[in-house]
Amino acid sequence: MKLKTNVGMVINLDKCIGCHTCSITCKNTWTNRDGTEYMWWNNVETKPGIGYPKRWEDQEHYKGGWENKNGKLELKQGGKLFEYINIFHNPHMPTIDDYYEPWDYDYEKLIKAKPSKYQPVARPKSKLTGEYMEKIEWGPNWEDDLAGSPEYMLKDPNITEDLEKEITLEFERSFFFYLPRLCNHCLNPACVAACPSGAMYKRDEDGIVLVDQDMCRGWRFCISACPYKKVYFNWDTHKAEKCIFCYPRFEAGLPTVCSETCVGRIRYVGIVFYDADKVKEAASAPEGDIYSAMLGLILDPTDKEVQKLAEKEGIRYDWIDAAVRSPIYKLVKEFEVALPLHPEYRTLPMVWYIPPLSPILRVMNSKGYSDIEIFPAIDEMRIPIKYLAKLFTAGNEEPIRKILKKLLAMRMYMRAVQLGKEEEFNDKILEEVGLNRKKAKELHRLLAVAKYEERFVIPTTNKEQFENTFKEQGFTGYDYKPPCDFCKGH
């Protein structure tokens, strides 16, 4: 067994209101430079919908992720030979129009225009060419909240023929929910594997996936290899860029900007220990089993043997403590309420999603819920189980049912508590989903009360282990050797 640490995030879709605060604060922090305007390291999509870039989930088109080719794990886009042959033109690389053409407005005109007969207007100007754009036909979140449906919504790659009849645009039965997306800092990252330059790597101490900007040569295979399309090409520096899990904050024990600023407090950040020796096996599992194989990878940090192993790896006490208190471990492994996005891409993503509940369509009798009978109604929720399964379990509907039942049971119990009817509560409801009163309260506290200190359990990086911090003193934030003036113009 080879114990390693990886960052993790849980996103509770049940509480996401689609306000895009995470996307905006991320953009303001990291991607408001030339060449990055079109990048949204974090974005929020409406599901069902096309997404960003357009139809990113259509891997028959984009060829992202891994494939199990007769027992051998290989990138879907092709092996090393494929990359050598296509290094001069990557056939699977998206173009800027798959995202959108970035633009700005001619704001100056509003204040500098001379008096005239007509009101001055700020016309859109392309960031790529500097020319005016006559009509903007696509942009970020163009199809937000099902805008433009059915034209766009039905193009969702998850809506296959068998689902089409369940997806309806009839107002009373229609549904949508939000899906915030960022780099998953995968355990088996396809982007890292595809990089010909060796510029992409996972950090040994926390698994954050980064691009070494000095080593990137712009060969572009990471961009097509990432099935989530979360590695972007900076058209100004001609290098790849991606979410860095706000590592300067993370190292200081702070959550990522997207998590920190989430108004719904739906995000959880922490670390998990996993068995690196089993990664290949889990990534090669049959599609429907990948989720459970992923759970199998994650080690129990409260286990004394695991702790001993961690110590042997040189992991300090504060990190082991953070793993024990990790909300990621709790939600993913202990309560089993969080799922990976498209596990069938075989990258073993470490951003997990709690699937959303939705109203039950059947008209209830006047007495309301009749306790245990509520469970069969899971299948009558507005969001079809089948659709959620396509997103989070490669089509395996059982884990989705289990989680929704668990969330529902917790709500029923807490409602009873709130109404002073705890004594009369039928414990069977909790037992059926593997909870008890204590556990249900714990889960409720984590999901609904969601205290800052419980959502974010982040150990500070032990820099003293590998850096001479005394020598660094006085240089914080500045390169030791400033780049010379001659070479800035290339």
Binding site: T95, T129, P196, Y201, K202, R203, K471
Partner: protein, 235 residues
């Protein structure tokens, strides 16, 4: 072999001794300087994100063409004629192979270059994001290839054998035994081709062409997922 009585003037020394060494110095030191001082700028400068369809029909033929061209030049210029003969390659057979292979690869390269040049100027997004260096490189490459093809076409009969003149001159330069007399009777079109190549080599380290040196070789045998351990003073 050349007669010892060939007259060489100061111009010959300038063009076929001083210039090549100046260019090689710029080439080597320029790369080192740029790598050391500004690694962030070292990239293939791909514009595939902005335009993809034309790129396929430009970049693919150009790159495969130029690789074949370079291979041909290596066989014809770096490998001595004696080695060709040792392999039983007669002048006539060598010439036929060189001309047909060279023309094929040359025209493939030219075709790619024409598409790439058209793309660079006709696609607004690409043009707007082109640096002066990109244009210079493109024009120089076009001139080099055109001169090279013209030289080949002007010598279809094979009356001029560069393996007795240009090849030993080049090997002389690379082995620090320059001999400008070898270049004295070379047809002007060949000289022009070589001169343009030297110009290209001189600007090379300061343009996108640096990516040639970064062709991924380690990748071939590398493990797929890389972990990087921090290493600082204490490691």
């Amino acid at each position: 072999m050349q007669e010892a009585t060939v007259q060489v003037g100061i111009t010959d020394y300038l063009f076929w001794v001083a210039l090549p060494y100046t260019v090689l110095t710029i080439f080597v030191l320029g790369h080192i300087y740029r790598y050391a001082t500004d690694p962030m700028s070292w990239t293939s400068k791909s514009s595939e994100l902005l335009e993809k369809k034309l790129l396929r029909f430009g970049s693919m033929p150009f790159h495969y063409g130029i690789i074949l061209v370079l291979l041909g030049h290596f066989i014809g210029l770096i490998i001595p004629k004696a080695v060709h003969e040792a392999f039983g390659l007669s002048d006539h057979v060598y010439h036929i192979i060189a001309v047909t292979g060279g023309l094929f690869a040359g025209f493939l390269t030219l075709l790619g270059l024409i598409v790439l040049t058209y793309r660079r100027f006709a696609v607004k997004r690409v043009l707007a994001n082109s640096s002066a260096g990109d244009i210079v490189v493109l024009v120089l490459l076009l001139l080099v290839v055109l001169a090279g093809l013209t030289a080949t076409l002007s010598n279809l009969g094979g009356s001029f054998d560069y393996r007795d003149t240009i090849a030993p001159w080049l090997r002389g330069i690379l082995t620090l035994r320059p001999d400008p007399t070898l270049m004295a009777n070379v047809p002007i079109i060949f000289k022009l081709h070589i001169f343009l190549v030297m110009l290209l080599l001189a600007v090379w380290p300061f343009t996108r062409l640096v990516h040639v040196l970064s062709f991924p070789i380690v990748f071939l045998r590398r493990s797929r997922v890389i972990f990087r351990r921090r290493c600082g003073d204490m490691a």
